[in-house]
């Protein structure tokens, strides 16, 4: 029996074990009453929050994003600094990463490339909507194999030893798809890893690896423009629709913790919280250091700050969010 089969049976067995008491509904009723009392308190606090954030939101509307900020009336009053929790703001200076290597050969049928940052590593990706992807990750941390694989064997990339992992299938694979991963170390000690999900053969994937040359590929467009950011943060994660800024040093563990911005599908129904208007768009401050701004088309801009990494007040979060522009 495989581990996966054991796991499935273990979970089914365990799910049947607990003897639940019948008081769930009573406990929920009590909780709902408590929640109502708490909500009254939150609404009172919301009056204060609105007083704090309304002025900067209205004023910054004139300065920023064409996406988040409609054209302001010409007669609007001049901007002033919003109240803050002592955060020092500065113009956003981070840059999207370039990729250090350039493929000399690529198999046919790939989608357009994109360069992302994942913690301390940089990733060159060719993804399509069907889960078919070829990605090359380079950096100080070995990339994840993503698939357990059926077999590992040794090979070479140029003069360098490499490990090749293969699997005849993976979750979401279609007929003819396979998984091939190649991992090796570059002469400067950085890890390089090439993963293929799709119809490509091992020899094709190795040909890509062996054809790489040390020539930078330009960075991809940033998913967002940020007007200003709290001082001391650095880019720790960037993909087509998500970006995080984190206090250095950036590690694999901290890369998605910090101040993060992402475009997401809107939850149905919308989460509870204090309703705001940010740059003319309806928004919700959910009370857990998260703002959700309605972008229309069932999409939201989620802005979150992990309080273990960065201390921002609600007003700070609103100030930051008001300066975010979605670029695509």
């Amino acid at each position: 029996m495989t581990l996966e089969e054991d796991l499935r049976l273990t979970l089914q067995d365990r799910a049947g074990e607990p003897a639940f008491s019948g008081d769930l509904l009573d406990r929920v009723r009590l909780g709902v009453r408590r929640e109502k009392r708490k909500r009254i308190a939150i609404l009172s606090a919301a009056v204060v929050l609105a007083a704090v954030v309304t002025v900067p939101v209205v004023l910054v509307q004139r300065q920023l994003s064409p996406v988040l900020n409609p054209t302001p009336p010409a007669s609007a009053p001049p901007a002033s600094s919003p109240p803050s929790s002592g955060v020092v703001w500065e113009k956003s200076r981070w840059e999207m990463p370039a990729f250090p290597l350039t493929p000399g050969w690529l198999p046919p049928g790939l989608s357009p490339r994109r360069v992302d940052q994942i913690g301390p590593n940089v990733v060159l990706r060719y993804d399509d909507d069907r889960g078919n992807s070829l990605s090359l990750e380079v950096g100080p941390v070995a990339g994840a194999w993503e698939v357990e694989g059926e077999e590992d064997h040794r090979s070479t990339v140029g003069a360098l030893d490499a490990t090749v992992r293969t699997a005849r299938s993976y979750d979401g694979a279609r007929a003819g798809d396979r998984y091939v991963g190649v991992r090796w170390r570059l002469p400067d000690g950085r890890w390089a890893q090439l993963l293929s999900f799709g119809p490509r053969t091992e020899s094709q994937v190795l040909r890509v690896a062996r054809g790489l040359r040390a020539q930078p590929l330009p960075a991809s467009p940033a998913p967002f423009r940020l007007a200003e950011v709290p001082r001391g943060l650095t880019l720790s994660f960037a993909s087509a629709r998500y970006l995080c800024l984190t206090p250095p040093p950036v590690t694999a563990e901290t890369m998605q913790r910090g101040l993060c911005v992402g475009v997401e599908r809107a939850a149905e129904p919308a989460p509870p919280g204090v309703a705001l208007t940010i740059a003319g768009r309806p928004a919700v401050f959910t009370g857990d250091s998260q703002l959700q701004i309605d972008l229309g088309g069932k999409q939201i801009l989620a802005v979150t700050a992990d309080p273990e990494m960065i201390k921002l007040s609600a007003a700070d979060l609103v100030r930051f969010a008001t300066g975010v522009e979605v670029t695509d």
Partner: protein, 167 residues
């Protein structure tokens, strides 16, 4: 209280509690999680019940469980195993293996564990799990691979160290 909500909790409460128990590895934590999510859902029930309440609540349970906010507020330690079953005991018995597997599931990260529960208990594919966790399918694969890899390594190590294991 909304009649439809009460009926739903009566009918599906245990299913939600079973799922939350698997996510948390602890019955009491699981019940707290279900209670917390249902209380939040109550206010928006008229909209939730029109859609797919099971799917909505399953997603809410997972997201709430893996969120850093709840992790902090509950004062719970991450990665602490739920219970300490026998390690390296009778590996000839499938039951013993599953006891051990359950214990070791408690040592995975919350996200790894959630991915495995969604994949092997709820039978969701990686795209559906990615929707629940708001990440890419490739990230789901990473969590699953690391979780399974750690379980496999731990179990192999326990087998090697078990009394009577071949030297």
């Amino acid at each position: 209280m909304h009649i439809g909500f009460e009926e739903y909790v009566r009918a599906r409460g245990d299913t939600l509690r079973r799922f939350a128990f698997l996510l948390c590895g602890d019955q009491h934590l699981g019940e707290d999680l279900v209670q917390e999510v249902l209380i939040k859902a109550y206010r928006r029930w008229s909209r939730i019940e029109l859609d797919q309440p099971d799917r909505y609540l399953r997603t809410a349970l997972v997201r709430s469980h893996v969120s850093w906010l709840r992790r902090r507020s509950s004062g719970e330690r991450v990665g602490v195993p739920a219970g300490t079953g026998p390690v390296g005991a009778d590996f000839a018995s499938q039951h013993a293996i599953r006891d051990d597997l359950w214990t070791r599931l408690g040592r995975l990260s919350r996200t790894q564990r959630a991915v495995l529960v969604l994949r092997y208990y709820e039978d969701l594919d990686d795209h559906q799990i990615a929707d629940v966790l708001r990440c890419k399918p490739s990230t789901v694969r990473v969590h699953a691979s690391r979780g399974l890899g750690r379980l496999r390594t731990d179990l192999a190590s326990a087998t090697t160290n078990a009394p009577g294991a071949a030297q």
